[in-house]
């Protein structure tokens, strides 16, 4: 057991474990900390933060669906200044590895966020959420437009400098994921986060109207896992050198291993934490045990292995 090298890297940041929280599914860490030490997992990806404080969408903000759920939060949050003042110090105090997720409504807003984060010590990476389908400006999801995606990442890269790894988080709701991925990597992303939620809707049969206050919402949970594994596999095939933070419906070590085999260097756990506050620890333990049982000496050897040994099948 102890001989497994379970560590991973995204860009030039090192993590002792490849199991992270997912943005928006751990708030800023504080609430999960009563169930386990934040230091004991790979990293905490914080809720996407915008420049200003935001109250978000009207309720209902959730609907459970078969093996999944829809959410429509609308990026409620304190704004970057309060986040830096309050949440970062807390996470540093907990000795958590911190990945800050940022979201903006304009390309400038992303750059502004990057500028504010630039001087902040103790951050391992910035995840740039260009794919949230819930922002007010519907029809204008950056991640659905290769050009806009590139410009966001380019702006963040220029502002933040060369040090901090940038993880571009993409949406699966596109015709050609690989070209979007290639674009953001060319623009300076060190890694990719795949996948954000899939756009969905539930009709409330009492009111006969869309159930969510925001009408549509993002589908997450095990229901979307096959879509996420496919996305990771396709992108890793096209861009094998680019590390991927894989996510979408992971709720066991076996699920996590599917992502690793498909090409993810690390995984984020979102919806599973809602059903089970200690899901991260369980998944982390199971993944480690599975890798050992399968004879891997390092996590790195397992990354993308589903693409190799074309004859083994």
């Amino acid at each position: 057991m102890t001989s497994l090298d379970f560590s991973t890297t995204l860009g030039n940041s090192w993590f002792p474990s490849p199991v992270f929280t997912a943005s928006g599914c751990a708030s800023s860490g504080r609430e999960l900390a009563q169930f386990f030490a934040l230091h004991d997992i790979g990293g905490v990806v914080t809720k996407s933060v915008m420049n200003k404080a935001r109250t978000g969408r009207q309720t209902p903000r959730m609907a459970e669906t078969p093996s999944g759920m829809l959410n429509s939060i609308g990026l409620q949050g304190p704004g970057i200044d309060a986040f830096i003042a309050v949440d970062i110090p807390y996470l540093i105090e907990q000795r958590a590895r911190i990945i800050v997720s940022i979201a903006g409504e304009t390309i400038e807003e992303y750059s502004t966020l990057a500028r504010k984060l630039r001087g902040v010590a103790g951050i391992s990476a910035v995840e740039v959420n260009i794919s949230c389908p819930n922002v007010e400006n519907r029809g204008l999801v950056f991640a659905c437009d290769s050009d806009a995606s590139k410009r966001v990442i380019d702006g963040v890269r220029r502002t933040i400098g060369g040090e901090l790894p940038i993880i571009a988080k993409l949406s699966p709701d596109v015709t050609d994921l690989i070209s979007i991925a290639r674009g953001v990597v060319d623009a300076g992303a060190d890694a990719l986060a795949l996948i954000n939620t899939v756009l969905g809707m539930v009709i409330n049969l009492e009111t006969m109207r869309p159930h969510l206050g925001g009408k549509t919402g993002g589908l997450s949970g095990p229901a979307i896992r096959p879509i996420a594994v496919r996305a990771v596999y396709q992108v890793h095939e096209a861009l094998p050198a680019v590390p991927i933070l894989g996510m979408g419906g992971i709720s066991s070590g076996r699920d996590a291993l599917e992502f690793i085999a498909a090409g993810a260097s690390a995984v984020s756990i979102g919806t599973a934490s809602f059903g089970n506050p200690t899901a991260l620890l369980t998944i982390q333990r199971e993944l480690r045990e599975l890798l050992v049982a399968k004879g891997f000496v390092s996590l790195r050897d397992a990354v993308g292995c589903a693409h190799r040994d074309q004859d083994a099948h």
Partner: protein, 278 residues
């Protein structure tokens, strides 16, 4: 009203008893010493559907009462309405079943330091936590009166033992099948005046809570309301369960009802903005 119930723990708890009461199911669950940490107003979040369930989220239920017995140790009681697939699954579990429970969660009803007149108003299964609350208030020397309402008599939950803790109990049903025909809110203005009520504790559907607040806002009566918004996580990490609440400066923000609630200061909740964009 505080931040994060630090007593919360995730445990596998044994279902000790599961009995039908009217249209509800009364569940007694062994939670050991955690029972000592549960206060009236707190809730629990339970996994439903078993290993191969398509339900990925926990279900929230108010803790109706807790007790410590020599046979079972600490137990809690839940009153569950079979509503959709998750609550139905729970209601079908047999004695001895192991349940994955996170308990206790959320804020508790504030208990006055002085013996005052308290009015407890419950709608449907909302009465469940009020009986435990009544006992605590009674022990503090408060006068406790109770109003329960529901659409029909079988949806009134009012156990015998519970009634002992209250000075008076009035029941209202919309179809008149039990108690008086009408709504609990009809009686409140007069009761406030007659009994010199200092605080109203309410638990039930949001429109009922809003209607109560419309009454208390015109008076000095404090209103502690246990709100109910759809919750995905119950522990503060998803931001689905928010309710618009003003702070002391009047600024309104969306507070998580699982952490800053379910019990909130009714006067600060922006009832007209519930379910709307701020």
């Amino acid at each position: 009203m505080g931040k994060i119930n630090t007593n919360a723990a995730q445990i596998n708890a044994t279902l000790i008893s599961n009995k039908r009461i009217g249209q509800y199911q009364q569940l007694i669950i062994n939670i050991g010493d955690l029972a000592n940490d549960c206060k009236p107003g707190n809730f629990v979040a339970i996994s439903v559907g078993g290993e191969s369930s398509r339900m990925v989220l926990r279900r929230a239920f108010a803790i109706s009462r807790t007790s410590m017995s020599a046979t079972f140790g600490g137990t809690m009681e839940l009153i569950v309405a079979p509503h959709g697939q998750g609550s139905r699954w729970l209601c079908e579990q047999g004695e001895g079943a192991l349940l994955d429970v996170v308990v206790p969660l959320g804020t508790a009803f504030g208990i006055p330091t002085e013996p005052v007149e308290a009015l407890l108003v419950g709608g449907g299964y909302g009465s469940a936590p009020l009986f435990g609350l009544a006992e605590v208030l009674k022990a503090r020397g408060c006068r406790v009166d109770m109003l329960l309402g529901a659409s029909t008599g079988s949806k009134i939950y009012a156990p015998m033992e519970g009634k002992r803790a209250v000075n008076s109990l009035r029941i209202y049903t919309e179809d008149g099948s039990m108690g008086q025909m009408g709504r609990v809110t009809d009686a409140i203005p007069n009761l406030i005046a007659d009994l010199d009520v200092a605080v109203i504790y309410s638990c039930g559907p949001m429109p009922m809570l809003a209607a109560i607040n419309a009454i208390t806002s015109k008076s000095d009566v404090v209103h502690q309301a246990a709100v109910e918004e759809a919750m995905a996580c119950g522990i503060g990490i998803c931001m689905t369960c928010v309710v618009p609440v003003a702070d002391s400066t009047g600024a309104i923000s969306m507070l998580r009802s699982c952490i800053d609630g379910p019990v909130m200061d009714g006067a600060l909740v922006q009832w007209d903005k519930v379910g709307r964009v701020l």
